[in-house]
C-alpha cells in the first residue's frame, strides 16, 4: 500500500470561521470550445458547463467552475473513475478538447462562517461586496500573493483551491489572519 500524504492542514475554528481540509477529492480540468465538446461534457457529467464568466453549476455533489472562456474545473466527491475515463475517452481521445486529472494539482480548503470574507479581504484586492451575496459564483484571484480559485457555493461558505506546493504556506497565512479578526 502507498500512503496518502497531504500538507499539514487540520480543522481549525476561529470566531465565526471554520477551516477544513477537504481531501482527497477529484478535480478535473476541462478545456474546449466546440459545440460537441459542450454537449459531450454536459451529457457525461449531467451538468452544463457554465458559459457565464465567474459562475459555477452544481448538481448533487459535482460542481463545474468557469475558469476562462474555454476552461472549467469540475470537482466533487462522487466523481468516479468511470466518469473520468469516459470523459477522457469521449473528449480527449476524440480530440474535442482536453480532460486532465488535476486532483493533486490543487488542494481544497473549505472556509465557512461570517468572517470568511473578512479574512479573504486581508490578502485579496478582489471586491467581495457583490460576490458574498451570491451563491454559485467563482473568482480566480491572488490571496496573499498566491493564486487561488474561490468558489462561493453557499452563503458564507467558500471552497478555496490552492496549488498544492503553495498550500501549506497559504494555510499558515489564513490561520494567522484569522487569529486577529
Amino acid at each position: 500500500m502507498l500512503n496518502i500524504n497531504y500538507p499539514k492542514i487540520e480543522k481549525k475554528d476561529y470566531p465565526n470561521l471554520e477551516l477544513n481540509l477537504v481531501e482527497p477529492i477529484h478535480k478535473l480540468n476541462l478545456r474546449g470550445k466546440s459545440r460537441d465538446f459542450f454537449t459531450k461534457a454536459g451529457r457525461i457529467l449531467s451538468i452544463m458547463l457554465p458559459p457565464e464568466p465567474n459562475t459555477s453549476a452544481t448538481i448533487k455533489s459535482i460542481s463545474a467552475l468557469w475558469l476562462s472562456p474555454d476552461e472549467w474545473m469540475v470537482y466533487g466527491k462522487d466523481i468516479e473513475k468511470n466518469l473520468m475515463l469516459s470523459l477522457d475517452s469521449e473528449i480527449s481521445k476524440l480530440n474535442l478538447g482536453s480532460v486532465t486529472d488535476v486532483s493533486d494539482q490543487w488542494v481544497l480548503i473549505n472556509m465557512r462562517g461570517k468572517n470568511v470574507f473578512e479574512v479573504l479581504s486581508k490578502g485579496s484586492s478582489f471586491d467581495f461586496n457583490q460576490f458574498k451575496n451570491n451563491k454559485n459564483v467563482v473568482v480566480q484571484t491572488l490571496l496573499n500573493h498566491v493564486d487561488v480559485i474561490l468558489h462561493h457555493n453557499d452563503i458564507n461558505n467558500v471552497d478555496l483551491f490552492v496549488r498544492k506546493s503553495f498550500s501549506e504556506h497559504l494555510w499558515l497565512w489564513i490561520n494567522d489572519s484569522s487569529s486577529f479578526l
Partner: protein, 1001 residues
C-alpha cells in the same frame, strides 16, 4: 507644585479618568482624551524640543498633524520606543513615557544650542558648501560630527514586537476628513444609498466646528457645536456608513486607490495592547472620493517667531475650548484676519488677559466689534518686530507699519506676554488632491492654491476647497455633494446659517522690521530651521526653481513636509523673483501625508510571511533527514544532506560519488510539467522548440531547447509523447510559470488556429529521479512486472507501470549522464513513493542527493542549466548546441534571429570548459576571465558560470562563457582574484564519459 493651566470644564475629556504619564522622566497628570500636547500645556510645559540646525528651544505650536516642533520620542528604551511622534497627535495613556528629541544632554540645557550663536556662519547650503573638501575627511570627521548633532530621535535597536496587518476595503464613496463638511458629505452619501466610509484621524468627529460656541454663528438657530453634535449622533445610526476614527490617509493614488493607516492601539497602555494589532493599513478602492481635509492656519513670518509660547491662534482656541487648557496667562494675538478674534473672545470669556496686534487698518466684522466691547486692546496697522524670552516667550516688541506695509515707523512698544497666538490666514490642505494627480489653481484674492482639475472621480469640499466661512462651507458642501452623487434632495437643503463674514484682508509674506533682514531670524520652516533670509540667499546664489530652493534651503523637507509655511516660502520667492505665485506653482506633495512606520507598510509580511514558500510533496522527508534547503524561485529544494557534521563540500563529494558508483535519488518534483493535448500538439512543439517533433514515436522522450524570438535560449526540458495527440512537457523549475504563459500567448495570439490545449500539472505529480549503475536494479524491485532491457525500455523512453496499484509514469532520461529513471506519481503518493524507493535501494546504498550534487554531476557532463550558464544573451550556437537546431524546419520561435548579423558573429561569447592548472584550485562562479592582466583597460573576455570540484575526476572543473571561446581550446587564460591570479586552460566542456557509455550501462 506647578501651576495648573486647566482652567475650564470641557465635555470632551473624561475628568473621572485621570492619567499619569512621564515626560523627560518627570511625572505629570492629564485626562483620558488629552493629547500629549494638551496634557503638557495643562501642566505649563511649553518647551518640547530643540530645532534641527540651531538647536533653538521650541514649543508646541499647533494641535494637529502639521506640528513642526513638538516631536517626541515615545516609550523608554528597547523595542517599543518610537521616534518622531507628534505630541499634538499622541493621545496619553496610563504609563506613557515620552522624551524630547534632538537635544543633549537635556532640553533645558542643550550643548548644540551653541549653533544658535554661531548661526551667521551656518547659512543655507552650509552643509553642501562646507563638507565638500577634502573628501577623505567625510568618513572620519564630517559624517560622525553631523550624525552626532543632527537627527530626529533614536530608532529602536530591537525588532518591532507589535502586530500590524493589512486589509482591503471597497466602497462607493470614501469621505476623507470628519469635520463639518465631511460629516455632511458622509450623511448625504449614505442617505443616497451609497456604501460610504468616513475616515478621520482624530478620536472623535467634528473638526473645529465641534468646539465653535460663539453666539455669532448659528445653524438653524443653534450654535454650531450643538447642531453638529446632533448630526454626528445622527450619522452613527446610518446603516451603510462606516466611520473609522484615528485613521489617517497616507496616500492617494490614481484610480481612487488610497492607503489609510488605522491606529488601533497607540492610545492604549502597554497592558491593554498585548497581542493585539497596533495598526492596520487599509487599501481602499473607492468608486468616488470626497476630500474634506480642511485647512491649516498659516503662521506669520517675523523676527524670532519661533519661541516656545508662539502658537497658532486657532490651536490656542482649541486648547482652551476643547481641552480646557490655557496656553498662557497673558496672551497677545497677532493676526491679519478676523478668525483670530474668535480666539481672543474665547480667551477673554475665560478671564484670560488678551491684547490684539492686527496688521490691517481696521475690520468691520462683528467679531471685532465684540472684542472691542469686551475691552480688548487692539493695535491696528502694527507688526511684531521682535520677541524676547529664551525657553518661553516673555515679551514682544511691536511697531507701526508704513502705509505700503514695507516698513515700520515710529517707536517700539513693548508688550509683556507669555503666549503669542499668530494667524496669517488659512491654507487649504490640497496635498491628497495633488497626490492623486490633480492640478491646482491659484486664487489671488486670498492667495491660496485650490483644486482645479482632478484625474479621478473625486471632489474637494469645505475649507480644503477654499471655503472658509461657515455658510459657504455648508451650502457649497451640500450643493457639490448633491451634484457629485446625483442626489436630488438632502437634509441640508433648507438650513438657515448666520455667521460673520470677513471683508478686510491683508497679506504680507515677510513682515517688515526695523533691522535689516540679515540681522533677523524670521523662521519659515520651524523643523528644519530655514528662514526667509535663507530663501533670499539661495535666490541670490542663482537658484530659481522652487524645487531647487526647497532642497538647497531644506525648506519643507522635515517630517511635516513644510505644511505650515510652504506658502510663505513661495510668496517670498515670487516677490523676490517678481513672478506671480500662480505661475510659480508649488513643490510636489508626495505620499505619505503623515509619516508611516515600517511595520504598517509591511503588515504581516514579516518572518514566515516575508516571501511565499513552495514545498514538494516529499519535503517532510527531507526535513526529517536533516537536509539543508536552497531557495529556487519560491521553492525550498533539498540542497544537500549532511551526515555526521559533514560540511557542504564533504556532503556533496559523498553524494556525487555514490550517484556515480551505485545509486542516487533526487526529488525532481519542482520541474514544471505541462500537459499538452490536441491534434496540432506535434506541430505546436515544432514551432516552440528548435528541434523536430513530428517523428517522435509514442512512448519516446526528447530533449528540447526553447528560444526567445530574439534567438536566445529561454528554457529547456524533456518532453514525452504519451499518445498520438498527447505530450507532457517538462520545464525548468524557475521557468515553469513563464513558459506556460509564453506558450498560451502564442496559442491565443499568433496561432489561434492550432488545436492545442495546455494544462499545468506541475503540482499534480511528485517526481523521484533515481540514477546510477544500480538504478535499474532498484526499479526492477519496485516494478517487477516491467521489462527493463534496452530493447523494451531504452534510454529516452517512457512506460506506465503500477506501484502497489497506483499508476506511475516512468521516463528513462538522464541529467547526470548515468543510467537513470524519473518516476512520476500523483503527488499525494509522492512521499510514499520516495520511501519505497529508499527502501528498495537500501541494499545498493541509494543516496539521496540535493541540488548541489545534481549541479555538479551535470557539470561533469557539460549539461547546461538555463539561467546559470545562460543569461538571455546566449544562442544555441554560442552554447555549441548546433546539433539541436533543425535545419529542415521552416520556422520556430527565434529561428530567424539565429541568422542575424550579430548572432552570426564569430567572436561572440561561447560556452567552454575551464581547467585550473592547479587541479585542487576551485574557481569562483562569476569570476572574470582575462588574457592579459597588464593591458589597460583590461579586457574582460567572459566569466565563470559553474564551478565544482569533481570527486569522480578528482580535479576542479568549470564551465564558462568566453569571447571567441570555440577557437581558444587549449589556450591559457587568467582568472584574477582579489589576492591572486589563477591560471586556467580552455577545454572541452564535457569532462566525464564523453562517449555516453554510462547511459546504457
Amino acid at each position: 507644585m506647578s501651576e495648573n493651566f486647566r482652567s475650564s470644564e470641557t465635555k470632551f475629556l473624561d475628568k473621572t479618568n485621570r492619567i499619569s504619564f512621564k515626560y523627560n522622566g518627570k511625572k505629570y497628570y492629564g485626562y483620558k482624551g488629552d493629547t500629549l500636547a494638551s496634557a503638557l500645556l495643562s501642566n505649563g510645559v511649553h518647551l518640547i524640543g530643540r530645532s534641527f540646525k540651531y538647536h533653538r528651544p521650541r514649543g508646541i505650536m499647533t494641535c494637529g498633524s502639521e506640528e513642526p516642533n513638538a516631536i517626541v520620542q515615545i516609550g523608554g528604551s528597547g523595542s517599543f520606543t518610537e521616534p518622531n511622534v507628534r505630541a499634538t497627535e499622541q493621545e496619553i495613556y496610563e504609563g506613557l513615557e515620552a522624551s524630547s528629541q534632538n537635544c543633549w544632554p537635556s532640553v533645558e540645557f542643550d550643548v548644540g544650542g551653541i549653533n544658535n550663536f554661531i548661526s551667521p556662519v551656518i547659512p543655507a547650503g552650509f552643509y553642501y558648501k562646507t563638507f565638500m573638501w577634502p573628501k577623505k575627511l567625510w568618513y572620519s570627521l564630517y559624517e560622525p560630527a553631523i550624525r552626532m548633532s543632527a537627527g530626529l530621535g533614536k530608532s529602536p535597536t530591537q525588532p518591532d514586537p507589535e502586530l500590524y496587518d493589512h486589509n482591503h476595503l471597497h466602497c462607493d464613496v470614501l469621505v476623507v476628513g470628519g469635520g463639518i463638511s465631511g460629516i455632511l458629505a458622509a450623511s448625504i452619501s449614505a442617505d443616497n444609498g451609497n456604501n460610504t466610509v468616513l475616515i478621520d484621524d482624530k478620536n472623535s468627529l467634528g473638526g473645529s466646528t465641534i468646539f465653535q460656541d460663539d453666539e455669532n454663528f448659528k445653524i438653524d438657530d443653534e450654535i454650531p457645536s450643538v447642531w453638529l453634535n446632533n448630526q454626528i449622533k445622527n450619522i452613527k445610526n446610518k446603516k451603510n456608513l462606516i466611520i473609522k476614527h484615528r485613521t489617517s490617509l497616507a496616500a492617494y493614488h490614481s484610480y481612487n486607490y488610497l492607503l489609510a493607516r488605522e491606529n488601533l492601539a497607540d492610545h492604549k497602555s502597554l497592558d491593554e495592547r498585548s497581542n493585539k494589532l497596533r495598526q492596520r493599513l487599509w487599501k481602499i478602492r473607492a468608486k468616488k472620493v470626497i476630500l474634506a481635509t480642511g485647512a491649516i492656519e498659516r503662521p506669520l513670518i517675523f523676527n524670532n517667531n519661533d519661541r516656545p509660547g508662539v502658537m497658532l491662534a486657532n490651536s490656542v482656541k482649541k486648547y482652551i475650548d476643547y481641552f480646557g487648557v490655557r496656553c498662557g496667562n497673558k496672551n497677545v494675538i497677532f493676526t491679519n484676519n478676523d478668525s483670530a478674534y474668535e480666539t481672543a473672545i474665547s480667551l477673554n470669556k475665560k478671564g484670560i488677559n488678551v491684547t490684539i496686534v492686527d496688521i490691517r487698518n481696521n475690520s468691520s466684522s462683528i467679531l471685532v466689534k465684540n472684542a472691542k466691547n469686551a475691552g480688548i486692546k487692539i493695535y491696528w496697522n502694527h507688526t511684531v518686530v521682535d520677541t524676547k524670552g529664551y525657553r518661553r516667550i516673555k515679551s514682544i516688541q511691536i511697531m507701526k507699519m508704513s502705509d505700503d506695509g514695507t516698513n515700520v515707523i515710529g517707536s517700539k512698544i513693548n508688550l509683556v506676554c507669555d503666549n503669542l497666538s499668530i494667524s496669517g490666514g488659512w491654507t487649504p490642505m490640497v496635498h491628497l488632491f495633488t497626490q492623486s494627480g490633480g492640478k491646482l489653481k491659484f486664487r489671488d484674492s486670498d492667495q491660496v492654491f485650490l483644486p482645479n482639475t482632478a484625474m479621478s472621480d473625486q471632489i474637494s469640499i469645505g475649507s480644503c476647497n477654499g471655503d472658509f466661512e461657515l455658510d459657504d462651507v455648508i451650502k457649497n458642501t451640500n450643493s457639490e455633494c448633491k451634484n457629485f452623487l446625483s442626489a436630488s434632495v438632502t437634509d441640508y437643503d433648507s438650513l438657515t446659517i448666520s455667521c460673520p463674514k470677513q471683508k478686510e484682508s491683508k497679506n504680507i509674506w515677510l513682515l517688515p522690521n526695523d533691522k535689516p533682514l540679515g540681522k533677523t531670524k524670521p523662521f519659515l520652516d520651524f523643523q528644519n530651521d530655514s528662514t526667509a533670509k535663507d530663501i533670499k540667499l539661495a535666490m541670490r546664489e542663482g537658484f530659481k526653481s522652487i524645487e531647487h530652493v526647497k532642497r538647497y534651503t531644506t525648506t519643507g523637507m522635515g517630517t511635516d513636509q513644510g505644511k505650515l509655511a510652504n506658502m510663505h516660502a513661495l510668496g517670498i520667492i515670487s516677490e523676490t523673483a517678481g513672478v506671480k505665485m500662480g505661475s510659480l506653482g508649488t513643490t510636489t506633495f508626495r505620499p505619505p501625508y503623515t509619516p508611516l512606520t515600517f511595520g504598517t507598510i509591511v503588515g504581516r509580511n514579516v518572518g514566515t510571511f516575508f516571501d511565499i514558500i513552495r514545498k514538494t510533496p516529499i519535503h517532510e522527508w527531507h526535513e526529517n533527514h536533516k537536509a539543508k534547503f536552497e531557495n529556487v524561485g519560491q521553492w525550498k529544494r533539498a540542497w544537500y544532506y549532511p551526515k555526521n557534521n559533514e560540511s557542504m563540500h564533504q556532503a556533496v563529494q559523498r553524494e556525487s560519488k555514490a550517484a556515480r558508483e551505485s545509486a542516487g535519488i533526487l526529488d525532481a518534483s519542482t520541474l514544471g510539467k505541462i500537459d499538452i493535448k490536441g491534434t496540432d500538439a506535434s506541430e505546436f512543439l515544432n514551432r516552440v522548440y528548435t528541434n523536430a517533433w513530428s517523428k517522435l514515436a509514442i512512448g519516446k522522450c526528447r530533449y528540447g531547447l526553447m528560444l526567445n524570438e530574439d534567438g536566445m535560449v529561454y528554457d529547456d526540458g524533456v518532453t514525452t509523447r504519451l499518445e498520438e495527440n498527447h505530450y507532457v512537457m517538462t520545464t525548468t523549475t524557475g521557468g515553469a510559470a513563464n513558459v506556460l504563459s509564453k506558450l498560451e500567448d502564442y496559442l491565443q495570439t499568433e496561432w489561434p488556429e492550432l488545436d492545442v490545449w495546455l494544462t499545468s500539472v506541475t503540482d499534480h505529480y511528485a517526481t523521484a529521479s533515481i540514477c546510477g549503475p544500480n538504478s535499474k536494479n532498484i526499479l526492477k524491485k519496485l516494478f517487477p512486472k516491467l521489462e527493463f532491457n534496452d530493447e523494451n525500455f531504452p534510454h529516452m523512453s517512457f512506460k506506465n507501470a503500477e506501484l502497489n496499484g497506483i499508476n506511475c509514469r516512468i521516463m528513462r532520461i538522464s541529467f547526470t549522464g548515468e543510467h537513470s529513471y524519473e518516476i512520476n506519481i500523483e503527488s499525494k503518493y509522492g512521499k510514499s513513493l520516495w520511501e519505497n524507493c529508499i527502501e528498495a535501494g537500501k541494499e545498493f546504498n541509494i543516496t539521496p542527493y540535493g541540488t548541489e550534487t545534481m549541479h555538479l554531476l551535470r557539470a561533469e557532463k557539460g549539461f547546461i542549466i538555463v539561467g546559470q550558464d545562460t543569461d538571455g544573451t546566449m544562442t544555441p550556437i554560442d552554447l555549441q548546441m548546433e546539433w539541436i537546431i533543425s535545419k529542415k524546419k521552416y520556422d520556430f520561435i527565434g529561428k530567424r534571429s539565429l541568422y542575424r548579423s550579430d548572432t552570426m558573429r564569430e567572436d561572440r561569447k561561447h560556452l567552454v570548459g575551464l581547467l585550473t592548472d592547479n587541479p585542487r584550485e576551485i574557481l569562483e562562479e562569476g569570476a572574470q576571465i582575462v588574457q592579459d592582466e597588464k593591458k589597460q583597460p583590461i579586457e574582460m573576455l567572459g566569466h565563470v558560470t559553474s564551478s565544482y570540484f569533481s570527486p569522480n575526476l578528482n580535479k576542479s572543473i568549470a564551465l564558462a562563457v568566453v569571447k571567441n571561446g570555440k577557437k581558444l581550446k587549449g589556450q591559457k587564460l587568467l582568472v584574477p582574484m582579489k589576492d591572486k591570479t589563477i591560471n586556467v586552460t580552455v577545454s572541452d566542456f564535457v569532462f566525464f564519459d564523453s562517449k555516453n557509455e554510462r547511459l546504457n550501462a
